[in-house]
Subunit: 305 residues, 2 copies
Protein backbone atom coordinates (compact mmCIF):
# COMPACT_ATOMS: atom_id res chain seq x y z
CA UNK A 1 0.00 0.00 0.00
CA UNK A 2 2.70 2.45 1.06
CA UNK A 3 5.57 2.84 3.51
CA UNK A 4 3.41 4.85 5.95
CA UNK A 5 3.71 2.24 8.67
CA UNK A 6 7.48 2.74 8.61
CA UNK A 7 7.28 6.52 8.37
CA UNK A 8 4.81 6.71 11.26
CA UNK A 9 7.17 4.67 13.42
CA UNK A 10 10.12 6.87 12.43
CA UNK A 11 8.10 9.98 13.35
CA UNK A 12 7.06 8.50 16.69
CA UNK A 13 10.64 7.73 17.72
CA UNK A 14 12.08 10.80 15.96
CA UNK A 15 14.73 8.54 14.52
CA UNK A 16 15.16 7.90 10.79
CA UNK A 17 17.51 4.97 11.24
CA UNK A 18 17.42 1.21 11.01
CA UNK A 19 19.60 -1.32 12.81
CA UNK A 20 21.11 -3.76 10.36
CA UNK A 21 21.25 -7.22 11.90
CA UNK A 22 24.03 -8.92 9.90
CA UNK A 23 25.34 -11.04 12.75
CA UNK A 24 28.61 -12.76 11.99
CA UNK A 25 29.47 -15.15 14.76
CA UNK A 26 32.59 -13.13 15.60
CA UNK A 27 30.41 -10.10 16.47
CA UNK A 28 28.76 -12.04 19.27
CA UNK A 29 30.17 -11.96 22.83
CA UNK A 30 31.90 -15.16 23.93
CA UNK A 31 29.54 -15.96 26.78
CA UNK A 32 26.60 -16.19 24.35
CA UNK A 33 28.54 -18.32 21.87
CA UNK A 34 29.79 -20.67 24.58
CA UNK A 35 26.28 -21.24 25.88
CA UNK A 36 25.14 -22.29 22.40
CA UNK A 37 28.19 -24.50 21.81
CA UNK A 38 27.46 -26.26 25.11
CA UNK A 39 23.91 -26.95 23.94
CA UNK A 40 24.56 -27.87 20.30
CA UNK A 41 28.29 -28.51 19.88
CA UNK A 42 30.21 -26.75 17.16
CA UNK A 43 27.42 -26.89 14.61
CA UNK A 44 25.45 -24.58 12.35
CA UNK A 45 22.55 -25.00 14.82
CA UNK A 46 24.77 -23.63 17.58
CA UNK A 47 25.72 -20.63 15.46
CA UNK A 48 22.05 -20.01 14.66
CA UNK A 49 21.13 -20.32 18.34
CA UNK A 50 23.82 -17.84 19.39
CA UNK A 51 22.71 -15.38 16.74
CA UNK A 52 19.12 -15.51 17.95
CA UNK A 53 20.16 -14.87 21.57
CA UNK A 54 22.27 -11.95 20.37
CA UNK A 55 19.52 -10.50 18.15
CA UNK A 56 16.88 -10.84 20.85
CA UNK A 57 18.98 -8.93 23.35
CA UNK A 58 19.74 -6.24 20.78
CA UNK A 59 16.07 -5.89 19.91
CA UNK A 60 15.17 -5.62 23.62
CA UNK A 61 17.72 -2.82 23.96
CA UNK A 62 16.79 -0.99 20.76
CA UNK A 63 13.05 -1.25 20.12
CA UNK A 64 12.05 1.99 21.87
CA UNK A 65 14.87 3.96 20.20
CA UNK A 66 15.19 2.50 16.70
CA UNK A 67 12.06 2.10 14.53
CA UNK A 68 13.24 -0.78 12.36
CA UNK A 69 15.64 -3.65 11.88
CA UNK A 70 17.12 -4.89 8.64
CA UNK A 71 18.23 -8.53 8.80
CA UNK A 72 20.63 -9.29 5.95
CA UNK A 73 19.64 -12.70 4.55
CA UNK A 74 23.20 -13.69 3.58
CA UNK A 75 24.36 -13.80 7.20
CA UNK A 76 21.56 -16.20 8.10
CA UNK A 77 21.88 -18.37 5.00
CA UNK A 78 25.55 -18.89 5.79
CA UNK A 79 24.44 -20.98 8.76
CA UNK A 80 22.11 -23.11 6.66
CA UNK A 81 18.44 -23.78 7.32
CA UNK A 82 19.00 -23.27 11.05
CA UNK A 83 20.33 -19.79 10.28
CA UNK A 84 17.31 -19.08 8.12
CA UNK A 85 15.06 -20.23 10.98
CA UNK A 86 16.83 -17.69 13.19
CA UNK A 87 16.06 -15.00 10.62
CA UNK A 88 12.39 -15.92 10.79
CA UNK A 89 12.41 -15.89 14.61
CA UNK A 90 14.21 -12.54 14.61
CA UNK A 91 11.63 -11.02 12.27
CA UNK A 92 8.74 -12.17 14.48
CA UNK A 93 10.41 -11.09 17.71
CA UNK A 94 11.14 -7.59 16.38
CA UNK A 95 7.59 -7.21 15.11
CA UNK A 96 6.20 -8.28 18.51
CA UNK A 97 8.20 -5.40 19.96
CA UNK A 98 6.61 -3.02 17.47
CA UNK A 99 9.58 -2.74 15.13
CA UNK A 100 9.28 -2.54 11.34
CA UNK A 101 11.29 -5.25 9.58
CA UNK A 102 13.05 -4.86 6.24
CA UNK A 103 14.48 -8.15 5.01
CA UNK A 104 17.60 -7.37 3.02
CA UNK A 105 17.55 -10.13 0.42
CA UNK A 106 17.99 -8.20 -2.85
CA UNK A 107 15.77 -10.81 -4.47
CA UNK A 108 15.15 -10.77 -8.20
CA UNK A 109 13.77 -13.13 -10.83
CA UNK A 110 11.22 -13.52 -13.59
CA UNK A 111 7.55 -12.92 -12.78
CA UNK A 112 6.42 -16.41 -11.76
CA UNK A 113 9.41 -16.82 -9.46
CA UNK A 114 9.02 -13.35 -7.97
CA UNK A 115 5.50 -14.39 -7.03
CA UNK A 116 7.11 -17.10 -4.92
CA UNK A 117 9.63 -14.67 -3.38
CA UNK A 118 6.84 -12.18 -2.66
CA UNK A 119 4.83 -14.90 -0.90
CA UNK A 120 7.93 -16.08 0.97
CA UNK A 121 9.10 -12.78 2.36
CA UNK A 122 6.08 -10.45 2.47
CA UNK A 123 2.87 -12.34 1.76
CA UNK A 124 1.48 -15.78 2.41
CA UNK A 125 1.94 -19.22 0.90
CA UNK A 126 -0.94 -21.47 0.02
CA UNK A 127 -0.84 -24.93 1.59
CA UNK A 128 -3.84 -26.82 0.25
CA UNK A 129 -6.16 -23.83 0.65
CA UNK A 130 -4.68 -22.57 3.91
CA UNK A 131 -2.68 -19.34 3.76
CA UNK A 132 0.46 -19.42 5.88
CA UNK A 133 3.10 -16.80 6.51
CA UNK A 134 6.66 -17.96 5.84
CA UNK A 135 8.89 -15.03 6.85
CA UNK A 136 6.40 -12.18 7.04
CA UNK A 137 8.69 -9.15 6.91
CA UNK A 138 7.23 -5.68 6.35
CA UNK A 139 9.49 -4.86 3.42
CA UNK A 140 12.04 -6.54 1.18
CA UNK A 141 14.99 -5.20 -0.77
CA UNK A 142 14.95 -6.23 -4.43
CA UNK A 143 17.07 -5.87 -7.57
CA UNK A 144 15.28 -4.46 -10.62
CA UNK A 145 17.68 -5.77 -13.30
CA UNK A 146 14.90 -7.91 -14.83
CA UNK A 147 12.47 -5.03 -15.32
CA UNK A 148 8.77 -4.58 -14.63
CA UNK A 149 7.53 -8.16 -14.71
CA UNK A 150 10.02 -9.05 -11.96
CA UNK A 151 8.49 -6.30 -9.80
CA UNK A 152 4.75 -6.60 -10.49
CA UNK A 153 4.15 -9.65 -8.23
CA UNK A 154 5.68 -7.70 -5.33
CA UNK A 155 3.40 -4.74 -5.96
CA UNK A 156 0.38 -7.02 -5.70
CA UNK A 157 1.55 -8.33 -2.35
CA UNK A 158 2.37 -4.78 -1.16
CA UNK A 159 -1.20 -3.75 -2.01
CA UNK A 160 -2.85 -6.78 -0.44
CA UNK A 161 -0.84 -6.98 2.81
CA UNK A 162 0.31 -3.35 3.23
CA UNK A 163 3.98 -4.09 2.64
CA UNK A 164 6.83 -2.30 0.89
CA UNK A 165 9.89 -2.91 -1.26
CA UNK A 166 13.22 -1.12 -1.69
CA UNK A 167 14.73 -1.42 -5.17
CA UNK A 168 18.50 -1.12 -5.69
CA UNK A 169 19.18 2.17 -7.44
CA UNK A 170 22.70 3.27 -6.48
CA UNK A 171 24.51 0.89 -4.16
CA UNK A 172 27.12 1.86 -1.56
CA UNK A 173 30.01 -0.35 -2.72
CA UNK A 174 33.16 0.94 -4.49
CA UNK A 175 32.43 -0.75 -7.83
CA UNK A 176 28.74 0.19 -7.97
CA UNK A 177 29.55 2.63 -10.77
CA UNK A 178 30.80 -0.04 -13.20
CA UNK A 179 27.25 -0.53 -14.41
CA UNK A 180 25.12 1.91 -12.39
CA UNK A 181 26.98 5.08 -13.44
CA UNK A 182 27.06 4.18 -17.15
CA UNK A 183 25.05 6.44 -19.42
CA UNK A 184 21.95 5.33 -21.29
CA UNK A 185 21.35 8.33 -23.55
CA UNK A 186 21.76 11.30 -21.22
CA UNK A 187 20.79 9.40 -18.09
CA UNK A 188 22.79 7.10 -15.86
CA UNK A 189 21.64 3.52 -15.27
CA UNK A 190 20.79 4.46 -11.67
CA UNK A 191 18.62 7.36 -12.88
CA UNK A 192 16.79 5.01 -15.24
CA UNK A 193 16.23 2.63 -12.34
CA UNK A 194 15.10 5.56 -10.19
CA UNK A 195 12.51 6.54 -12.78
CA UNK A 196 11.24 2.97 -12.83
CA UNK A 197 10.80 3.13 -9.04
CA UNK A 198 8.73 6.31 -9.33
CA UNK A 199 6.64 4.61 -12.00
CA UNK A 200 6.21 1.32 -10.12
CA UNK A 201 5.04 3.20 -7.02
CA UNK A 202 2.54 5.46 -8.77
CA UNK A 203 -0.58 3.62 -7.67
CA UNK A 204 0.42 3.02 -4.06
CA UNK A 205 1.15 6.37 -2.43
CA UNK A 206 0.55 7.06 1.22
CA UNK A 207 -0.34 10.14 3.27
CA UNK A 208 3.24 11.44 3.37
CA UNK A 209 3.57 11.32 -0.42
CA UNK A 210 5.80 8.25 -0.46
CA UNK A 211 4.80 5.07 -2.23
CA UNK A 212 5.22 1.39 -1.35
CA UNK A 213 8.28 1.34 -3.62
CA UNK A 214 11.42 2.68 -1.97
CA UNK A 215 14.97 2.77 -3.31
CA UNK A 216 18.36 1.74 -1.97
CA UNK A 217 20.79 4.64 -2.39
CA UNK A 218 24.18 4.42 -0.69
CA UNK A 219 25.42 6.94 1.88
CA UNK A 220 28.83 6.72 0.26
CA UNK A 221 27.64 8.77 -2.74
CA UNK A 222 26.27 12.04 -1.23
CA UNK A 223 25.91 13.92 -4.55
CA UNK A 224 23.79 11.16 -6.01
CA UNK A 225 21.66 11.07 -2.85
CA UNK A 226 20.83 14.76 -3.17
CA UNK A 227 20.30 14.53 -6.92
CA UNK A 228 17.99 11.51 -6.62
CA UNK A 229 15.99 13.05 -3.74
CA UNK A 230 14.92 15.77 -6.20
CA UNK A 231 14.23 13.39 -9.07
CA UNK A 232 12.36 10.79 -7.00
CA UNK A 233 9.93 12.79 -4.85
CA UNK A 234 7.64 9.83 -4.08
CA UNK A 235 10.34 7.25 -3.38
CA UNK A 236 11.63 6.71 0.12
CA UNK A 237 15.34 5.94 0.40
CA UNK A 238 16.97 3.16 2.36
CA UNK A 239 20.51 4.43 2.87
CA UNK A 240 23.23 1.89 3.64
CA UNK A 241 26.90 2.74 4.10
CA UNK A 242 26.68 5.10 7.11
CA UNK A 243 29.58 4.64 9.53
CA UNK A 244 31.66 1.55 8.82
CA UNK A 245 31.46 1.99 5.03
CA UNK A 246 32.47 5.67 5.27
CA UNK A 247 29.27 7.67 4.75
CA UNK A 248 28.85 10.59 7.19
CA UNK A 249 25.68 12.17 8.59
CA UNK A 250 26.30 15.47 6.82
CA UNK A 251 26.45 13.79 3.41
CA UNK A 252 23.27 11.89 4.17
CA UNK A 253 21.22 15.03 4.88
CA UNK A 254 20.49 15.38 1.15
CA UNK A 255 18.50 12.14 1.21
CA UNK A 256 15.76 13.79 3.31
CA UNK A 257 12.93 16.07 2.20
CA UNK A 258 12.17 19.50 3.74
CA UNK A 259 10.06 17.83 6.43
CA UNK A 260 12.95 15.62 7.49
CA UNK A 261 11.27 12.60 5.97
CA UNK A 262 11.96 10.40 2.96
CA UNK A 263 14.93 8.37 4.11
CA UNK A 264 16.00 5.78 6.64
CA UNK A 265 19.69 5.26 7.33
CA UNK A 266 21.14 1.84 8.11
CA UNK A 267 23.92 1.00 10.50
CA UNK A 268 24.93 -2.60 11.08
CA UNK A 269 28.42 -3.24 12.40
CA UNK A 270 28.69 -0.01 14.44
CA UNK A 271 25.62 -1.01 16.46
CA UNK A 272 26.26 -4.76 16.70
CA UNK A 273 29.94 -4.33 17.58
CA UNK A 274 29.60 -1.23 19.77
CA UNK A 275 30.68 -3.33 22.76
CA UNK A 276 34.02 -4.01 21.06
CA UNK A 277 34.70 -0.36 20.32
CA UNK A 278 33.49 1.30 23.51
CA UNK A 279 36.31 1.87 25.97
CA UNK A 280 36.03 -0.25 29.11
CA UNK A 281 32.86 -2.03 27.97
CA UNK A 282 32.52 -5.56 29.35
CA UNK A 283 31.04 -8.03 26.93
CA UNK A 284 27.95 -8.64 29.02
CA UNK A 285 27.07 -4.97 28.44
CA UNK A 286 26.91 -5.46 24.65
CA UNK A 287 23.22 -4.55 24.38
CA UNK A 288 23.55 -1.32 26.38
CA UNK A 289 26.55 -0.37 24.22
CA UNK A 290 24.45 -1.02 21.10
CA UNK A 291 21.71 1.23 22.50
CA UNK A 292 24.20 4.01 23.24
CA UNK A 293 25.57 3.78 19.69
CA UNK A 294 22.02 3.82 18.26
CA UNK A 295 21.24 6.98 20.25
CA UNK A 296 24.52 8.59 19.16
CA UNK A 297 23.69 7.77 15.55
CA UNK A 298 20.15 9.14 15.87
CA UNK A 299 21.46 12.40 17.31
CA UNK A 300 24.20 12.61 14.68
CA UNK A 301 21.77 12.18 11.77
CA UNK A 302 18.97 14.38 13.14
CA UNK A 303 21.42 17.20 13.92
CA UNK A 304 21.68 17.83 10.18
CA UNK A 305 17.93 17.76 9.45
CA UNK B 1 38.24 -23.29 -10.73
CA UNK B 2 36.09 -23.92 -13.82
CA UNK B 3 32.84 -25.54 -14.90
CA UNK B 4 34.67 -28.69 -16.08
CA UNK B 5 32.91 -30.88 -13.53
CA UNK B 6 29.59 -29.91 -15.10
CA UNK B 7 30.85 -30.20 -18.68
CA UNK B 8 32.32 -33.64 -18.02
CA UNK B 9 28.99 -34.83 -16.65
CA UNK B 10 27.14 -33.36 -19.66
CA UNK B 11 29.55 -35.18 -21.99
CA UNK B 12 29.15 -38.45 -20.12
CA UNK B 13 25.37 -38.40 -20.38
CA UNK B 14 25.35 -36.72 -23.82
CA UNK B 15 22.72 -34.37 -22.48
CA UNK B 16 23.25 -30.61 -22.14
CA UNK B 17 20.18 -30.03 -20.02
CA UNK B 18 19.33 -29.38 -16.40
CA UNK B 19 16.15 -30.20 -14.52
CA UNK B 20 14.83 -27.15 -12.73
CA UNK B 21 13.33 -28.16 -9.40
CA UNK B 22 10.92 -25.31 -8.67
CA UNK B 23 8.32 -27.43 -6.90
CA UNK B 24 5.09 -25.61 -6.24
CA UNK B 25 2.86 -27.72 -4.06
CA UNK B 26 0.28 -27.96 -6.86
CA UNK B 27 2.82 -29.76 -9.08
CA UNK B 28 3.03 -32.62 -6.61
CA UNK B 29 0.74 -35.66 -6.92
CA UNK B 30 -2.02 -35.87 -4.32
CA UNK B 31 -0.89 -39.10 -2.73
CA UNK B 32 2.46 -37.52 -1.77
CA UNK B 33 0.84 -34.38 -0.43
CA UNK B 34 -1.73 -36.33 1.60
CA UNK B 35 0.97 -38.43 3.21
CA UNK B 36 2.77 -35.28 4.37
CA UNK B 37 -0.46 -33.63 5.58
CA UNK B 38 -1.20 -36.75 7.63
CA UNK B 39 2.20 -36.48 9.28
CA UNK B 40 2.41 -32.71 9.79
CA UNK B 41 -1.07 -31.26 9.31
CA UNK B 42 -1.58 -28.36 6.94
CA UNK B 43 1.70 -26.63 7.75
CA UNK B 44 4.77 -25.31 6.01
CA UNK B 45 6.62 -28.37 7.35
CA UNK B 46 4.14 -30.60 5.54
CA UNK B 47 4.67 -28.70 2.29
CA UNK B 48 8.43 -28.98 2.73
CA UNK B 49 8.14 -32.70 3.45
CA UNK B 50 6.01 -33.32 0.36
CA UNK B 51 8.46 -31.38 -1.78
CA UNK B 52 11.37 -33.46 -0.58
CA UNK B 53 9.54 -36.72 -1.31
CA UNK B 54 8.70 -35.40 -4.78
CA UNK B 55 12.26 -34.18 -5.48
CA UNK B 56 13.83 -37.42 -4.27
CA UNK B 57 11.67 -39.51 -6.58
CA UNK B 58 12.42 -37.18 -9.50
CA UNK B 59 16.15 -37.37 -8.82
CA UNK B 60 15.97 -41.17 -8.64
CA UNK B 61 14.27 -41.18 -12.04
CA UNK B 62 16.53 -38.60 -13.67
CA UNK B 63 20.08 -38.94 -12.37
CA UNK B 64 21.35 -41.28 -15.10
CA UNK B 65 19.76 -39.19 -17.87
CA UNK B 66 20.09 -35.57 -16.73
CA UNK B 67 23.48 -34.27 -15.57
CA UNK B 68 22.28 -31.52 -13.24
CA UNK B 69 19.44 -30.08 -11.20
CA UNK B 70 18.69 -26.42 -10.60
CA UNK B 71 16.67 -25.83 -7.43
CA UNK B 72 15.08 -22.37 -7.52
CA UNK B 73 15.51 -20.87 -4.04
CA UNK B 74 12.25 -18.88 -4.16
CA UNK B 75 10.10 -22.02 -4.22
CA UNK B 76 11.78 -23.32 -1.08
CA UNK B 77 11.80 -19.99 0.76
CA UNK B 78 8.06 -19.71 0.22
CA UNK B 79 7.67 -22.59 2.70
CA UNK B 80 9.87 -20.90 5.31
CA UNK B 81 12.89 -22.43 7.02
CA UNK B 82 11.42 -25.91 6.55
CA UNK B 83 11.33 -25.27 2.82
CA UNK B 84 14.93 -24.09 2.90
CA UNK B 85 15.88 -27.27 4.77
CA UNK B 86 14.26 -29.24 1.95
CA UNK B 87 16.43 -27.32 -0.53
CA UNK B 88 19.53 -28.34 1.42
CA UNK B 89 18.41 -31.98 1.57
CA UNK B 90 17.63 -31.92 -2.16
CA UNK B 91 21.08 -30.57 -2.99
CA UNK B 92 22.79 -33.29 -0.96
CA UNK B 93 20.62 -36.07 -2.30
CA UNK B 94 21.25 -35.07 -5.92
CA UNK B 95 25.00 -34.84 -5.32
CA UNK B 96 25.00 -38.31 -3.74
CA UNK B 97 23.50 -39.54 -7.01
CA UNK B 98 26.31 -37.85 -8.94
CA UNK B 99 24.32 -34.88 -10.17
CA UNK B 100 25.74 -31.37 -10.46
CA UNK B 101 23.69 -28.80 -8.52
CA UNK B 102 23.14 -25.21 -9.55
CA UNK B 103 21.30 -23.25 -6.88
CA UNK B 104 19.22 -20.60 -8.63
CA UNK B 105 19.29 -17.78 -6.10
CA UNK B 106 20.32 -14.79 -8.23
CA UNK B 107 22.14 -13.49 -5.16
CA UNK B 108 23.80 -10.10 -5.20
CA UNK B 109 25.20 -7.66 -2.66
CA UNK B 110 28.26 -5.63 -1.67
CA UNK B 111 31.56 -7.45 -1.18
CA UNK B 112 31.38 -8.26 2.55
CA UNK B 113 27.87 -9.64 2.18
CA UNK B 114 28.71 -11.61 -0.95
CA UNK B 115 31.41 -13.30 1.09
CA UNK B 116 28.61 -14.55 3.33
CA UNK B 117 26.49 -15.67 0.35
CA UNK B 118 29.50 -17.40 -1.19
CA UNK B 119 30.12 -19.27 2.06
CA UNK B 120 26.43 -20.10 2.39
CA UNK B 121 25.81 -21.54 -1.05
CA UNK B 122 29.17 -22.73 -2.38
CA UNK B 123 31.83 -22.67 0.32
CA UNK B 124 32.01 -23.21 4.05
CA UNK B 125 31.12 -21.21 7.12
CA UNK B 126 33.44 -20.83 10.06
CA UNK B 127 31.98 -21.89 13.40
CA UNK B 128 34.64 -21.16 16.01
CA UNK B 129 37.44 -22.53 13.87
CA UNK B 130 35.49 -25.42 12.37
CA UNK B 131 34.53 -25.13 8.71
CA UNK B 132 31.00 -26.34 7.97
CA UNK B 133 29.08 -26.58 4.73
CA UNK B 134 25.68 -24.86 4.78
CA UNK B 135 24.11 -25.60 1.38
CA UNK B 136 27.10 -26.80 -0.61
CA UNK B 137 25.82 -26.46 -4.17
CA UNK B 138 28.24 -26.74 -7.10
CA UNK B 139 27.25 -23.45 -8.68
CA UNK B 140 25.09 -20.42 -7.90
CA UNK B 141 23.28 -17.94 -10.12
CA UNK B 142 24.11 -14.31 -9.30
CA UNK B 143 23.16 -10.80 -10.39
CA UNK B 144 26.05 -8.52 -11.37
CA UNK B 145 24.27 -5.17 -10.94
CA UNK B 146 26.70 -4.17 -8.16
CA UNK B 147 29.84 -4.71 -10.24
CA UNK B 148 33.16 -6.41 -9.58
CA UNK B 149 33.38 -6.20 -5.81
CA UNK B 150 30.08 -8.05 -5.53
CA UNK B 151 31.57 -10.88 -7.62
CA UNK B 152 35.14 -11.15 -6.29
CA UNK B 153 34.24 -13.10 -3.10
CA UNK B 154 32.51 -15.71 -5.26
CA UNK B 155 35.57 -16.09 -7.47
CA UNK B 156 37.66 -16.84 -4.41
CA UNK B 157 35.27 -19.58 -3.33
CA UNK B 158 35.13 -20.96 -6.90
CA UNK B 159 38.91 -21.20 -6.90
CA UNK B 160 39.18 -22.75 -3.47
CA UNK B 161 36.37 -25.31 -3.70
CA UNK B 162 36.12 -25.89 -7.47
CA UNK B 163 32.73 -24.24 -7.85
CA UNK B 164 31.08 -22.05 -10.47
CA UNK B 165 28.72 -19.11 -10.87
CA UNK B 166 26.25 -18.03 -13.55
CA UNK B 167 25.79 -14.28 -13.87
CA UNK B 168 22.54 -12.82 -15.27
CA UNK B 169 23.30 -11.37 -18.69
CA UNK B 170 20.07 -11.51 -20.70
CA UNK B 171 17.11 -12.95 -18.84
CA UNK B 172 14.22 -14.87 -20.40
CA UNK B 173 11.30 -12.73 -19.18
CA UNK B 174 9.26 -10.37 -21.40
CA UNK B 175 10.44 -7.14 -19.73
CA UNK B 176 14.12 -8.10 -19.58
CA UNK B 177 14.82 -5.52 -22.28
CA UNK B 178 13.67 -2.53 -20.20
CA UNK B 179 17.16 -2.24 -18.76
CA UNK B 180 19.19 -5.05 -20.37
CA UNK B 181 18.60 -3.95 -23.99
CA UNK B 182 19.35 -0.26 -23.33
CA UNK B 183 22.46 1.09 -25.01
CA UNK B 184 25.56 2.21 -23.16
CA UNK B 185 27.53 3.86 -25.96
CA UNK B 186 27.27 1.34 -28.81
CA UNK B 187 26.78 -1.67 -26.56
CA UNK B 188 23.69 -2.99 -24.82
CA UNK B 189 23.63 -3.41 -21.06
CA UNK B 190 23.63 -7.19 -21.55
CA UNK B 191 26.73 -6.98 -23.74
CA UNK B 192 28.48 -4.89 -21.08
CA UNK B 193 27.52 -7.52 -18.50
CA UNK B 194 28.72 -10.25 -20.87
CA UNK B 195 32.11 -8.57 -21.19
CA UNK B 196 32.35 -8.41 -17.42
CA UNK B 197 31.71 -12.18 -17.27
CA UNK B 198 34.54 -12.84 -19.73
CA UNK B 199 36.78 -10.63 -17.61
CA UNK B 200 35.78 -12.13 -14.26
CA UNK B 201 36.46 -15.63 -15.57
CA UNK B 202 39.86 -14.90 -17.10
CA UNK B 203 41.90 -16.54 -14.38
CA UNK B 204 39.80 -19.66 -13.92
CA UNK B 205 39.55 -21.46 -17.27
CA UNK B 206 39.24 -25.20 -17.58
CA UNK B 207 40.26 -27.79 -20.17
CA UNK B 208 37.28 -27.10 -22.44
CA UNK B 209 38.06 -23.38 -22.59
CA UNK B 210 35.20 -22.36 -20.32
CA UNK B 211 35.79 -20.51 -17.07
CA UNK B 212 34.17 -20.79 -13.64
CA UNK B 213 32.00 -17.82 -14.57
CA UNK B 214 28.98 -18.72 -16.67
CA UNK B 215 26.13 -16.52 -17.85
CA UNK B 216 22.36 -16.78 -17.78
CA UNK B 217 20.99 -16.09 -21.28
CA UNK B 218 17.33 -16.80 -21.97
CA UNK B 219 16.13 -19.26 -24.61
CA UNK B 220 13.40 -16.76 -25.47
CA UNK B 221 15.88 -14.48 -27.25
CA UNK B 222 17.58 -16.70 -29.89
CA UNK B 223 19.36 -13.86 -31.74
CA UNK B 224 21.02 -12.67 -28.55
CA UNK B 225 22.03 -16.25 -27.72
CA UNK B 226 23.86 -16.62 -31.03
CA UNK B 227 25.37 -13.15 -30.81
CA UNK B 228 26.60 -13.67 -27.26
CA UNK B 229 28.02 -17.13 -28.00
CA UNK B 230 30.44 -15.40 -30.41
CA UNK B 231 31.27 -12.54 -28.07
CA UNK B 232 31.72 -14.68 -24.96
CA UNK B 233 33.85 -17.64 -26.06
CA UNK B 234 34.97 -18.60 -22.53
CA UNK B 235 31.61 -18.24 -20.82
CA UNK B 236 29.27 -21.18 -20.51
CA UNK B 237 25.56 -20.37 -20.81
CA UNK B 238 22.77 -21.46 -18.54
CA UNK B 239 19.70 -21.17 -20.76
CA UNK B 240 16.29 -20.88 -19.07
CA UNK B 241 13.02 -20.45 -20.94
CA UNK B 242 12.96 -23.68 -22.97
CA UNK B 243 9.49 -25.17 -23.27
CA UNK B 244 6.99 -23.55 -20.91
CA UNK B 245 8.38 -20.05 -21.49
CA UNK B 246 8.33 -20.48 -25.26
CA UNK B 247 11.95 -21.06 -26.28
CA UNK B 248 12.40 -23.87 -28.84
CA UNK B 249 15.33 -26.25 -29.36
CA UNK B 250 16.12 -24.81 -32.78
CA UNK B 251 16.54 -21.31 -31.40
CA UNK B 252 18.75 -22.63 -28.63
CA UNK B 253 21.24 -24.25 -31.00
CA UNK B 254 23.09 -20.94 -31.32
CA UNK B 255 24.05 -21.09 -27.65
CA UNK B 256 26.40 -24.02 -28.32
CA UNK B 257 29.92 -24.01 -29.75
CA UNK B 258 31.07 -26.09 -32.73
CA UNK B 259 31.79 -29.02 -30.40
CA UNK B 260 28.25 -28.99 -29.06
CA UNK B 261 29.46 -27.61 -25.74
CA UNK B 262 29.10 -24.28 -24.00
CA UNK B 263 25.51 -24.34 -22.86
CA UNK B 264 23.11 -26.14 -20.57
CA UNK B 265 19.38 -25.77 -21.10
CA UNK B 266 16.92 -25.69 -18.22
CA UNK B 267 13.46 -27.15 -18.09
CA UNK B 268 11.40 -27.00 -14.92
CA UNK B 269 7.66 -27.26 -15.27
CA UNK B 270 7.65 -29.54 -18.32
CA UNK B 271 9.65 -32.15 -16.38
CA UNK B 272 7.99 -31.73 -12.98
CA UNK B 273 4.47 -31.65 -14.40
CA UNK B 274 4.97 -34.23 -17.17
CA UNK B 275 2.55 -36.55 -15.34
CA UNK B 276 -0.22 -33.95 -15.71
CA UNK B 277 0.34 -33.52 -19.43
CA UNK B 278 0.95 -37.08 -20.55
CA UNK B 279 -2.21 -38.76 -21.77
CA UNK B 280 -3.39 -41.57 -19.53
CA UNK B 281 -0.62 -41.09 -16.96
CA UNK B 282 -1.64 -42.06 -13.43
CA UNK B 283 -0.22 -39.81 -10.74
CA UNK B 284 1.84 -42.59 -9.17
CA UNK B 285 3.79 -42.71 -12.46
CA UNK B 286 4.91 -39.07 -12.12
CA UNK B 287 8.62 -39.91 -11.94
CA UNK B 288 8.59 -42.13 -15.03
CA UNK B 289 6.71 -39.39 -16.90
CA UNK B 290 9.38 -36.90 -15.83
CA UNK B 291 12.07 -39.25 -17.12
CA UNK B 292 10.30 -39.64 -20.46
CA UNK B 293 10.01 -35.86 -20.81
CA UNK B 294 13.70 -35.42 -19.89
CA UNK B 295 14.67 -37.93 -22.60
CA UNK B 296 12.39 -36.24 -25.12
CA UNK B 297 13.99 -32.88 -24.28
CA UNK B 298 17.51 -34.31 -24.54
CA UNK B 299 16.74 -35.74 -27.98
CA UNK B 300 15.04 -32.52 -29.09
CA UNK B 301 18.02 -30.34 -28.11
CA UNK B 302 20.76 -32.66 -29.35
CA UNK B 303 19.01 -33.13 -32.71
CA UNK B 304 20.03 -29.55 -33.57
CA UNK B 305 23.68 -29.83 -32.46
Amino acid sequence: MSLDKLITRIDALKNPSVAGLDPKLEYIPHFIREESFLKYGHTLEAAADAIFSFNRALIDALYDVVPAIKPQAAYYEMYGWAGVRTMEKTIRYAQEKGMYVITDGKRNDIGATMTAYAAAHLGKSDVDGIELEAFGADALTVNGFLGTDGITPLLEVCEKFDKGIFVLVKTSNPSSGELQDQKIGNKTVYEVMGEMCEHWGELQRGQYGYSAVGAVVGATYPEQLTELRKKMPHTMFLVPGYGAQGGGAKGIAGAFDINGRGAIVNSSRAIMCAWKKEEGCVETAFAEAARREAIRMRDDITSYL
